[in-house]
C-alpha cells in the first residue's frame, strides 16, 4: 500500500512528498524526518521569503506613489489639500489609496472577492436560465431563436473559456503538426523543400498570426453563425504553438535508431507497418516533448491573443481590469497572473503523466 502510494506520487511528479509519506507511516523517523524537513520545509521557506520581499517592495512603491501624490497636491492645491490627502492615505481609505503594485494581502482579498463575485454571477445566471426555461421551450417550438444569457462572465467562467480555447488550439496543432512532421521526417526531399516554411513562420509573433487568421476567418465565415472571436483565437493559438511539435516530430522520425530501421529492412516490413509499428513508437518520446512545449506555448500566447482578439477569456479579463482602473483592479490582475501560471504548470504536469504512460524508457 505504502509503496503503491509512493510510486503514484512519484509518477505524477510529486516525488518530494515521499519522505513525508514514509514519515507518516512511521518508517525510520530520524532519516525520513530529516529528508522531509529538507525537501518540504525549505521550499516553504522560499515561499515565505518571496512573499516578504513582495510585501516590502510593494509598500516601498506605494510610499513612493503617495509621496508623489502629496507633493502634487501641495503644488496644485496648497498645503491644506496636501494635509487632507496625507491623512486620507494614512487612514487607508479606498478613495485615495495609491494605485501601484498591490501587496500580498490585497491580492489575497481579491481572490476572495473574485470568488464571491463568481458565486453571485453564477446564481444570477442560474436564475435567468430557470426563468427563461419555459419561455425558451415555447420559442423553440415556434421556431424562434432562444434567449441566451448575456451577462458579464465571472472570473471562473473566463478561466473555463480560456481552457476551452487552448484545448481547441492544441488539438488543431496536433492535427496539423504530427502528420506533417511524420511526412517531413520520412522524406528528405520533402524536408528540404519545405524547410523554409518552418524556419520563416516559426519565429512569427502571435500578434501577427492573429491578424493573419482574422483576415482569413472574416472572409471565410462571413455568413456562418459561429463565435468568430473564438474561432480566430483558437486557430491563432494552434498556428503559433504547433511549430515545436512539427519540428520535434520530423526530427524524431528522421533520426530513428538505425538498428530499428535495419530490423524493418531485414524483415521487409511494408511502409504502413514500418511507420506505425517501428518509427512512431520509437519517436513517441520526442513527439511528446514537442507536444509539451506546444501546450505551454499555446497557453502563453493564448493570453496575448485573447487580449487582442477581444475574445472572452483570461486575456480579456486582464485587459478589462487594466482598462477599468478601479481600486482593486491591480490586485485582480495579479490574481490572474498566478492563476495563469498555476494552470500552465498543471497542464504541463498532465502532459508529463501522459508522456510517462504512453512512451517507453529503454
Amino acid at each position: 500500500m505504502k509503496t503503491k502510494i509512493i510510486k503514484a506520487v512519484q509518477f505524477i511528479g510529486l516525488g518530494y512528498l515521499e519522505p513525508l509519506i514514509r514519515l507518516l507511516t512511521g518508517e525510520d523517523l530520524k532519516k525520513n524526518g530529516k529528508e522531509a524537513f529538507k525537501r518540504i520545509l525549505f521550499p516553504l521557506l522560499s515561499v515565505v521569503l518571496f512573499i516578504l520581499l513582495w510585501h516590502s517592495f510593494s509598500s516601498y512603491l506605494n510610499n513612493v506613489e503617495s509621496e508623489i501624490k502629496i507633493e502634487k497636491a501641495l503644488k496644485d492645491q496648497g498645503p491644506e489639500a496636501a494635509k487632507k490627502l496625507e491623512a486620507c492615505i494614512a487612514s487607508g481609505d479606498i478613495s485615495c489609496r495609491p494605485n501601484s503594485l498591490p501587496s500580498p494581502a490585497m491580492v489575497l482579498s481579491a481572490v476572495g472577492k473574485l470568488w464571491d463575485d463568481h458565486k453571485i454571477m453564477a446564481a444570477k445566471k442560474q436564475e435567468f436560465i430557470d426563468k427563461y426555461e419555459s419561455i425558451n421551450a415555447e420559442r423553440e417550438a415556434k421556431g424562434q431563436i432562444k434567449i441566451v444569457y448575456t451577462g458579464r462572465p465571472s472570473f471562473v467562467d473566463q478561466i473555463v473559456t480560456s481552457l476551452k480555447t487552448v484545448f481547441a488550439g492544441f488539438l488543431l496543432s496536433i492535427i496539423i503538426a504530427v502528420p506533417t512532421g511524420i511526412l517531413l521526417g520520412l522524406s528528405t526531399t520533402l524536408r528540404t523543400s519545405f524547410n523554409w516554411i518552418v524556419q520563416i513562420f516559426k519565429p512569427v509573433s502571435p500578434v501577427v498570426w492573429l491578424l493573419l487568421v482574422s483576415m482569413i476567418v472574416k472572409t471565410v465565415l462571413t455568413n456562418v453563425d459561429v463565435e468568430k472571436s473564438f474561432v480566430i483565437s483558437f486557430i491563432s493559438v494552434g498556428l503559433c504553438s504547433m511549430w515545436a511539435t512539427l519540428v520535434n516530430t520530423s526530427v524524431g522520425v528522421s533520426s530513428v535508431d538505425k538498428d530499428y530501421i535495419n530490423v524493418a529492412k531485414v524483415l521487409q516490413l511494408g511502409t504502413f507497418s514500418k511507420v506505425f509499428k517501428i518509427i512512431l513508437p520509437s519517436c513517441f518520446p520526442m513527439i511528446f516533448t514537442g507536444l509539451r512545449i506546444t501546450l505551454s506555448v499555446a497557453w502563453m500566447v493564448l493570453i496575448a491573443i485573447e487580449l487582442l482578439a477581444q475574445s472572452p477569456g483570461l486575456g480579456s479579463f486582464v485587459w478589462e481590469e487594466f482598462q477599468n482602473g478601479s481600486s482593486d483592479s491591480n490586485s485582480k490582475i495579479i490574481v490572474a497572473m498566478f492563476v495563469i501560471g498555476i494552470i500552465g504548470f498543471m497542464l504541463d504536469r498532465v502532459m508529463m503523466i501522459f508522456q510517462k504512460l504512453l512512451t517507453f524508457t529503454d
Binding site: 530499428y260 535495419n262 530490423v263 529492412k265 531485414v266 524483415l267 516490413l269 509499428k277 529503454d362
Partner: protein
C-alpha cells in the same frame, strides 16, 4: 599468395566440381568515397559457402568484416562484384537472410513474442494467428525463454534480449543466418551460455550461417570453417582453417580434443602477424 589460397579452397571444397553452394561471393568490392579519395574496404573478395555449413569470419577491428556481412544482408550497397544466394544475385535485404545484430535491436516497447512475431507475420502471411504464435513460441522456447513470452523487451536482460534476437532470426526460417558479433556485448558467462544455445540450434536445424567474431575460441567452437581476414584497407581473405570436429558438439569434448590447441595457435598466429 592469395591466389594460392583461393586455389587451395577450390581444390579442398570443390573436389568433384559439382558441389552445391548456398552462397557465392565473387570479386566482391566495397569502396567508400571520402573527400580525400576513395577508401577501398574490400577488394575482389571471393568466398563460397556450402549448404548446411557454418563459417566464422575472424579479423582485426576495422578490417571490413561487418561491412562484408551487411552487404550479404543487403543493408549496404555493393560497389563491385556479386553476391549470389541460391543461384540468384541479391538486390536488397530480405527475410531469406536472418540477421542477428551485435546489439539485439529489439523494439523495446514490444514484448518478446511481439518482437519475433513482427517478422513471422511477414514471412508466414498465410498462416493463422495461432500458427504464427506457435512458431514464435517454439523458437523462443528453443532459446530458453519459455516463461518470458509476454515480457517487454526493455525489461529483459542483455543476454535474454540476444536470445530473442536469435529466435527472431530463426523464426523466419532463413536460408542463411548472418551473425554480426552476436555475443560481443555480453559478459563471458552469458556468452558461454548463448554459444551453447546457438550450437544446439545449429546442430538441430542444420542452418547455414556466417558469423563475424573477434573471439578465437568462439570461432573454433561453433564453426566448420574459420575465414581469417587480413587487416584493411583492401582487406582480403588471408587464410582458411577447417575445423573438422563432429557434430553435435559439446564444449568439453572440443576443449579436450588433441587438435584444439593447434587450431587455436594457428588462428592466434595469423591475428598476431
Amino acid at each position: 599468395m592469395i591466389d594460392a589460397i583461393l586455389d587451395k579452397e577450390k581444390i579442398d571444397r570443390d573436389p568433384q566440381g559439382f558441389e552445391k553452394y548456398m552462397l557465392e561471393l565473387s570479386n566482391l568490392t566495397k569502396v567508400y568515397p571520402t573527400p580525400t579519395g576513395d577508401f577501398v574496404v574490400l577488394e575482389n573478395l571471393n568466398l563460397k559457402i556450402k549448404e548446411g555449413e557454418f563459417v566464422s569470419i575472424i579479423g582485426h577491428s576495422g578490417c571490413g568484416k561487418t561491412t562484408l556481412l551487411s552487404m550479404i544482408a543487403g543493408l549496404n550497397p555493393i560497389s563491385g562484384g556479386q553476391i549470389i544466394l541460391n543461384g540468384t544475385p541479391i538486390s536488397g535485404p530480405g527475410p531469406d537472410r536472418g540477421v542477428i545484430f551485435q546489439s539485439p535491436s529489439l523494439l523495446p516497447w514490444m514484448s518478446a513474442l511481439e518482437n519475433v512475431l513482427l517478422g513471422v507475420e511477414k514471412v508466414f502471411a498465410h498462416a493463422t494467428k495461432k500458427q504464427r504464435d506457435d512458431i514464435c513460441k517454439y523458437y523462443l522456447s528453443k532459446v530458453g525463454l519459455d516463461g518470458a513470452f509476454d515480457k517487454k523487451a526493455k525489461d529483459l536482460s542483455q543476454g535474454m534480449k540476444q536470445r530473442v534476437g536469435i529466435a527472431r532470426a530463426l523464426a523466419l526460417k532463413p536460408q542463411i543466418l548472418l551473425l554480426d558479433e552476436p555475443f560481443g556485448m555480453l559478459d563471458s558467462l552469458t556468452r558461454g551460455e548463448l554459444q551453447d544455445v546457438l550450437l544446439e540450434v545449429l546442430d538441430k536445424e542444420k542452418t547455414t550461417g556466417i558469423m563475424i567474431t573477434h573471439d578465437v575460441d568462439e570461432s573454433i567452437f561453433l564453426a566448420d570453417r574459420v575465414i581469417m581476414m587480413t587487416s584493411g584497407p583492401r582487406a582480403q581473405i588471408g587464410d582458411i582453417l577447417d575445423i573438422n570436429y563432429e557434430r553435435p558438439r559439446n564444449r568439453k569434448s572440443i576443449l579436450e580434443h588433441p587438435t584444439y590447441y593447434d587450431n587455436r595457435e594457428h588462428l592466434i598466429n595469423f591475428l598476431e602477424h
